[in-house]
Symmetry: C2
Subunit: 103 residues, 2 copies
DNA sequence: TGAACACTAAAGTTTTAACTTGACTATTAT
DNA sequence: ATAATAGTCAAGTTAAAACTTTAGTGTTCA
């Protein structure tokens, strides 16, 4: 399980949150991911490292292109934290959801 | 609905997240809430203002004591954001949970 | 083989957020 | 009335993130 602090800190930044949102639709290369932002590619790479450490994305390099995709572990950490703070009903349903998600 | 940015930014700080976690159990005064932290009351007050703006807590002053309690709107914002990024199964169950939560 | 491409590493700068200090208000207790 | 409590305001400091620049690696294309 991913550290809660890393997940919330990662999503606390607007650029990183936007990256995760864009990856919800489809995987993207670092360059494509960087396009909308007015910052260097280096800065984008730093953001991606933080997102990856938080288990929110996975990346793999093929040739010279690194492809980034949304990852579950970070989202699961977030879901667990949330469940502990919501109504008993929501908690039970979240637990059921986790059960049904398993392979 | 609360702004997503405010909620994530609020929970991105370890002290604020700890405050929310402690308020999950029971409401607390500003002083009681401040006790475990090695920082001024002023700093605690600043954190509380951010949490309140994010809809994660509500506060009300009675006499000279301000009591802080966990609030739903911020958590709901978080739940909605999460639901959009998790598996279809988890999404359906979250929606069902929201339905059953209603009065 | 050489040039353009897609990134990456190290180190420094800038910007933002957290926290402090000192002074102050309103409420409760003596 | 006085003093202690509980919190607040404004302004400044400090510490942590975000971002840049420069230089470099490995990969693909002409």
């Amino acid at each position: 399980m991913i550290d809660t602090a890393k997940v919330f800190q990662a999503l606390g930044d607007a650029t990183r949150r936007d990256m995760v949102e864009r990856l919800t639709d489809a995987p993207l290369s670092v360059s494509k991911l960087a396009e909308p932002y007015a910052m260097s590619l280096t800065a984008v790479g730093q953001h991606l490292a933080i997102l990856e450490a938080a288990g929110l994305i996975t990346t793999q390099k093929t040739g010279r292109v690194r492809t980034c995709a949304l990852a579950q572990p970070g989202l699961d950490t977030l879901a667990d934290w949330l469940a502990a703070r919501r109504s008993p009903w929501a908690q039970k349903l979240d637990a059921l959801g986790d059960m049904l998600d398993e392979p």
